[in-house]
Amino acid sequence: MVGATASRNGWIVWLTFLVGLLLSVSPLPIFMEILRPLWLALLLTFWALYMPHTVGMVTAFCLGLAEDVLQGDLFGQNALILTLITFLVLSLQQRLRMFPMWQQCLVILVIFGLAQLVQLWLSALTGNRQPTLALVLPALVSALLWPWVSFALRGLRRRYKIN
């Protein structure tokens, strides 16, 4: 994608995205389905924060299209959501990197919550409106998962010297 030539070990980034795609369709017990974290959004957030020149909105758009095909949504629905998330993260990038972890979690909760509301709006337009606001729960779970994801990915990044 954008400036992929400049990055070292960039394939690992793509590998994490692949794992994210798998996680986003992996079978879960029914009661956990509504808590499924937004794996792709989490990964995109991390890589956009630390490698803004490699991972950007175009990457997010392509991954979103892939997710649309997987989930059988309208072409472009998840693409719009992920692009929006990446845009918000990129525009807050300088500040977000300086924040302590709990504050990062809060910001991510807000961003993902917004994105999920857009998701609700889009699915209402396509005719299958969810009856509850339970779809904000994934944003909460993702925000709670953020410290661990960020810790793991930072370790990965240091280990393979991805930049």
């Binding site: 795609l21 798998l22 986003s24 369709v25 992996s26 079978p27 029914i30 389905e33 509504i34 499924r36 950007g56 909105m57 175009v58 758009f61 979103g64 299209l65 892939a66 095909v69 997987l70 989930q71 059988g72 949504d73 309208l74 072409f75 472009g76 629905q77 693409a79 719009l80 692009t83 929006l84 845009f87 990129l90 525009s91 889009l122 699915s123 396509t126 005719g127 299958n128 969810q130 009856p131 339970a134 779809l135």
Partner: protein, 367 residues
């Protein structure tokens, strides 16, 4: 950066509109799904491996017990099948008397569930048969106990099935006891369907079996859909509230049946039947067995294959005693149970789940 967001947002909105309104993007989707749908297969792999290992190390006593159980079940079903053959035959005769169109036999093929839709608010599943296997859009899907749903998206080797209980799904049904027609809508709860607009005075009660009526021209008639769980008469409401439980194990079944319904006209069926009969005679045939003798074949493609030759067309039936091929004799050409062979006039298999429903003549037609 803002410009890029704007461009991408407009692009995705445009894609959404085009995808919702036109078929333009379907080929692209299919191509992408060719690669991407493997994700479901991969995420399903650990479970399948575990199953494989468990079956490897399953104890002998367990296997013997399971074998016993299956044998008993098989016996039970075969007993029912015998009756079914007789009833089918009788039904065809009665329909001839009434001059109404004959019962249509459907072919079924086994598919396996490979994934659930990750969105918890929709009830959709992914199965491992797709366009290349002859699946068509809107095709009904059953499990061993009843109707499950219909195919809503085709991909080359997989397809997406919308379950009956999805909030966007409704199916025309009728009460098996008295033929009362209604529409069963999904509620988003995998254990509940609701009958909409049923009059307060309608004759429907707890425990009634609802079968598909075939009126929507999409689902074949006579398959069990649900059993009525409660009927609430609320004088403040214009209609009775009727709740039903789907008979199919919507969130538990792993093996499903795809129904290939016969969309030939009665005349074509008659011609095909005559053709097949000629072929059979030319081939030397075998002893002609009356149709009431059930013949059980177990082939991998057609699951509970009970070839009950309900002579397909009204004008072909009375003259020939609906010959069926001998069970294990040399294979006549028309006897390969292949879904891709339209002129095969050998009676298609019907699943064991189908009860001997005598649907009212008004709802019998389904071509």
């Amino acid at each position: 950066m803002g410009v890029r967001l704007l461009v991408l947002a407009v692009l995705s909105v445009a894609l959404m509109v085009v995808d919702a309104r036109f078929d333009l993007l379907k080929p692209a989707r299919k191509q992408a799904s060719l690669v991407l749908m493997d994700a479901y297969w991969i995420t399903d792999l650990p479970g399948r491996l575990w199953e494989g290992i468990a079956s490897q190390f399953g104890s002998r006593t367990e296997l013997v017990a399971e074998n016993e159980k299956l044998k008993t079940e098989n016996l039970l079903y075969q007993g029912r099948m015998q009756k079914l053959a007789a009833l089918t035959e009788q039904n065809v005769r009665l329909r001839e008397l009434l001059n109404s169109s004959a019962l249509v036999n459907e072919k079924v093929e086994v598919a396996e569930l490979i994934g659930m839709d990750p969105n918890p608010f929709t009830h959709r599943i992914i199965i491992n048969k797709g366009e290349r296997d002859g699946v068509v859009l809107g095709q009904p899907v059953l499990d061993a106990r009843g109707l499950m749903g219909q195919v809503v998206e085709l991909m080359p080797y997989t397809s997406r099935v919308l379950l009956l209980t999805d909030t966007t799904h409704s199916i025309p049904v009728q009460v098996n006891r008295n033929g009362l027609r209604a529409i069963a809508s999904g509620t988003g709860n995998p254990e509940r369907l609701e009958l909409r607009h049923v009059a307060d005075t309608a004759d429907i009660k707890e425990g009634d079996l609802l079968v598909s009526s075939g009126l929507g021209q999409r689902f074949p008639a006579g398959y069990p859909v649900a059993t009525v769980k409660e009927v609430i008469h609320d004088s403040g409401q214009p209609f009775a509230i009727v709740r039903a439980v789907p008979t199919a194990a919507l969130n538990r079944s792993r093996y499903l049946l795809l129904v290939f319904s016969d969309n030939r006209t009665a005349e074509e069926r008659a011609n095909d039947a005559a053709q097949a009969q000629e072929n059979l005679d030319a081939f030397g045939g075998g002893p002609i067995i009356p149709a009431t003798v059930p013949k059980t074949v177990t082939s991998p493609a057609v699951a509970p294959a009970n070839a009950t030759p309900a002579a397909p067309a009204a004008n072909a039936a009375p003259t020939q005693p609906a010959a069926s091929k001998p069970p294990a004799a040399a294979k006549p050409p028309a006897a390969t149970p292949a879904a891709s062979k339209p002129p095969a006039a050998q009676p298609a298999a019907r699943p064991a789940a189908k009860p001997p429903v005598s649907a009212p003549a008004t709802t019998g037609r389904q071509e």
